[in-house]
Assembly symmetry: C2
Homo-oligomer: 222 residues x 2
């Protein structure tokens, strides 16, 4: 459908401009923006809940929840931990965009925040194309999804700044060749920092928390 | 972005017309078209391989492989079982559409086929909107993805004709409330036929194979 391409390009340009404005607004307030990307059920909410539990006594966090439907399952879990959560219902759209994030930013008191975590819609394709204005894109891969995902969804692996390999507690029960997986990742995104962990058991979470804390401290003092 | 809506509507109308033409072409040749939908890593290819192994000695199957990248990992696995496989590289697009399927149909000898299985792109959102001309839409849910997926991705659950609940061998190792999951499914798609199974161990596959065989026989004699 070549006739639609100019429209798509215009949307992306407009989106990039809004994303830059969002980023500037976060930086004015010394807030680190973190965009969490994954397929459905890889553990986005679980990682965010674990991160809140580890950090919310020392740092001011908030969460922007992207969902394609109106259910507030995830936002409710986050609010229950005493952290501000704003839900964006994309109305069936398959990704967040910078305009949605811009509208949501108005609902947070950015001056007191250290880090805003954005939970994107569960999708490995469309989310890769839309900048939001966050500083760090974190992709969660999940062991039971299989070891071939970098080869099949290369675009999203190319564009991220950190990789969580979640559900490592399931490694004994599913076929997953870690070398093959990492070879694929390395070809797409050489040197990408990665954190094998389990949000279920807590194994490996400390390294992710330390790394994220350093990124937040850099943004706060920058 | 309201200005884009008319374009999207036109695309969908054009797609529906092509989908109807694809379906008529399959029916002229008494071929059952089956569209397999799931998030990345839920087990689309594994289910197709299991289905081929069970049925290819009695029935003529073929597979149309949708991928967002040029890798032929899945198509190669299917070809290795001696079944015709055609790959569609969507060039980063997040779903198959009827035009892509139309082009691929020309590459099969439909007269000798009983069933064409389409493996859609791994995506729970965008794939729900585009009819392909297949007769049956089958959604694969996966136990490690969690029990809240019907609540979070309602559109795709509403539009399918059968549900596979894959990776039941992982039930002892992950939190998954089957009652909560099934309550969500029932609210969206009352009476939906479902097949709990494991493509890894083979458990539960017989019921899926029997059901699919009956659908193929109906289409062949219809």
């Amino acid at each position: 459908m070549p006739r639609t391409i100019p429209v798509v390009e215009n949307i992306l340009n407009a989106n990039d401009q809004l994303a830059a404005a969002n980023q500037a607004r976060l930086e004015t307030n010394r807030v680190l923006g973190v965009n969490i990307l994954a397929s459905p059920g890889a553990g986005k909410t679980s990682l965010i809940l674990r991160t809140i539990t580890a950090l919310s006594s020392q740092l001011h966090l908030a969460v922007l929840e992207g969902d394609t439907a109106s259910v507030t399952i995830d936002a409710d879990k986050i609010s229950a931990l005493g952290v501000p959560a704003v839900q964006i219902n994309t109305g069936g759209q398959c990704h967040l965009d910078a305009k949605m994030v811009q509208a949501a930013l108005a609902q947070f008191d950015l001056k007191i925040l250290d880090c805003l975590i954005v939970e994107n819609v569960g999708n490995l394709i469309c989310t890769a194309d839309f900048r939001l204005g966050t500083h760090i894109n974190v992709l969660i891969a999940s062991i039971p999804e299989g070891d071939d995902k970098p080869y099949k969804y290369p675009a999203i692996y190319r564009g991220v700044d950190a990789l969580i390999i979640n559900k490592i507690d399931l490694l004994p029960y599913v076929p997953f060749n870690l070398d093959y997986f990492q070879l694929g990742v390395e070809a797409l995104n050489p040197g990408l920092v990665s954190f094998p962990l389990s949000c279920q058991t807590g194994e490996g979470l400390d390294k992710w928390i330390s790394w994220l804390t350093r990124q937040i401290q850099k943004a706060n003092s920058g």
